[in-house]
Subunit: 132 residues, 2 copies
């Protein structure tokens, strides 16, 4: 069980934008900026999909993701595996969250991320260090 | 032959930070923020590696990358294939560039990116649209 620390959680919650990387089955990476993400609990993130194109195609064939961001106090990378939700409790939770936080967004699917690892991305003290 | 347009080139040149995605041979994505990147010419980017850890390990087994950024006027995604350089003309070019632009950085390797595609990442008019 991998759990977010307070430091990573605060850093992600303060970030306005994060970059979501996926990969096709054949290993071609794709990375896009996203705004509609949140810490759902210590072990999961929720990402609302409004515009995913290649990202969604990749997730349908490869469930592994990486998410990175850079805020005022540096940044992190989280890795995880996803499940896609379009017509269930998680999707309804996603719709309610968008209605409150991003009322202009119309979600197509909810991407639930089970966190599998966390990494430092700033140079000091040790770039790429695994911390979760 | 894929060539950068003026709009993408200007957008990348104005960006202070971009996010570099790679993937392991088994398709696990990795994404990190980078500052030492530049448009080398219409068909290639140069990325200076000071701190790459998992990124470098991935590039040694899978040459495909994606790079995305978000600036004041929106953002793009570039895809490409890389060659790694540690003891040749490209690496010496990289060292000279760091000396001038990022004097505190000591490059370990130069990552030359041959551009294979370019994409819009903002929602309008068509998210994920291939433009190169």
């Amino acid at each position: 069980m991998v759990q977010l620390t307070g430091e990573i959680k605060e850093s992600l919650q303060a970030a306005k934008l994060a970059f979501l990387a996926t990969a096709s089955k054949s290993g071609i990476p794709n990375v896009v900026p996203i705004a509609a993400f949140k810490v759902r609990d210590e072990e999961t993130l929720l990402i609302s999909d409004q515009y995913f194109n290649k990202t969604l195609a990749n997730l349908k064939e490869n469930k592994e993701i990486a998410l990175s961001w850079w805020g005022e106090k540096g940044g992190f990378q989280i890795k995880g595996t996803v499940t896609l939700h379009t017509n269930d409790e998680i999707f309804r939770e996603n719709i309610a969250w968008m209605k409150e936080s991003f009322p202009k967004f119309t979600p197509k699917s909810a991407v639930l991320v089970k966190i599998t690892g966390g990494y430092i991305v700033k140079p000091d003290p040790e770039p790429g260090k695994k911390i979760l």
